[in-house]
Point group: C2
Amino acid sequence: LSSPQPRSRRDRPAKPPLSRNEIVNVTVEIVEREGLGKATMRRVAQELDTGAASLYVYVRSTAELQSAVIDELIRRIPAPPDESWQARLRAQVTGYRDLLLRYPGLARSAIVVRPAGSNFMRLFDQLMGLLLEGGADPKSASRGADMLLLNAAATAAEHSMAEAGDPDADVDPVEEQRAIEMAVWTSDPAGTPHLAKHAEAVLEGSPSERWEWMLRSQVTGITGHLFTDLTWPTADAVRPVSD
Amino acid sequence: LSSPQPRSRRDRPAKPPLSRNEIVNVTVEIVEREGLGKATMRRVAQELDTGAASLYVYVRSTAELQSAVIDELIRRIPAPPDESWQARLRAQVTGYRDLLLRYPGLARSAIVVRPAGSNFMRLFDQLMGLLLEGGADPKSASRGADMLLLNAAATAAEHSMAEAGDPDADVDPVEEQRAIEMAVWTSDPAGTPHLAKHAEAVLEGSPSERWEWMLRSQVTGITGHLFTDLTWPTADAVRPVSD
DNA sequence: ACCTGAACACCGTTCAAGT
DNA sequence: ACCTGAACACCGTTCAAGT
């Protein structure tokens, strides 16, 4: 009765119409499952049952698509606890860092393709508000929010390497740590005297302690409060960050 | 008298023997001339009149080669002036940032392929020494040096995009700045109240002023000195950083 | 206007074969 | 041991041709 052409179409789920939103969502799914490295134009197109060229109707470039993906993921950062401005600030910045740490390749992208979507703007605004609450003037609050977010992304990018042994990893974190410790302990007292003298202090502390130190140090610098004046929530008051 | 084979070899300059050093040097030259993006294994091999596969005898991977290039370039950072620890610290960190800013793609690489060569170690050690001189304890000095270098690389990566109009550029900086200003001025007072209220403070200041602010803020946080206690060289005492 | 296949101009890395 | 050509398995983006 009907021609066979439409019939075979009805056999499998209808191919959803292409749209910018659909493309971003599919890309987010690939990033969540396999990391940013796998979310290539060709791969995203394949998932949408089309060719890579078709995507260029809706996105300008790979960088633009990645920027949209990051903004969508920022939207999913959990709301901060209803506590002091310090605790909320820590939760927000750490949430951003954790997000970038979770999916290989994302952190790198976040530094280069400066996120500027509405969700990033909202995150920036929240941090700015918390710093204002902490006594910073508007200029310091703005630049401070900038610095905190940049630093979070850079920290995430620095050890952005999935699990140990992951073939997709940039570096093996265990191998890396060993190499660093070796280099510090055997450092030449003539060429690098301070490193040699204070080797223990240099290597001291877990990743989460180092992160706490960095946050606290930055907030001190931004607000101008002395360490001793700055009330900072104790480490065990929050869920531990990935060590 | 002699066979023609050696003769034709003598016609053109003798092909220098392949070595790790030679490979790194040639790669540095390509980076200086055309940016890191052009310094591919294939291109470096071509410059050395061989095939890409031959390089793998001397370098493990592209990442390892890039790491060696960065370390060599760090060696060339000019020595700091013989002034206060603050002035020397600023000169060193700014020198590192400027280096990463100079060659497109280098900053991105510096964040991911964590430099760990001897010249990076020496730079780290110098910063640590300056922070100790500024009154920081060894742990703070070590973590502070880490943070300063990480933020310098991240800052450079953020606006790592050659000249306006460069086809190799990640983004057009002029276009980018316009877009940011537009977004801030038209920001929704409901969604981003602080951004909307303090738009002027957010957009205020030149890139070099922002950089100065970041350095000063970080050093304040690291050493625990209040802004008012921290002697900081006036901006016009040093050569202006790239604006 | 939207979509496509094919092409263009590249990548990093591996490997069998040579010297 | 060192070097090579060729191959493998990919990229982003463009564009003429179709609908």
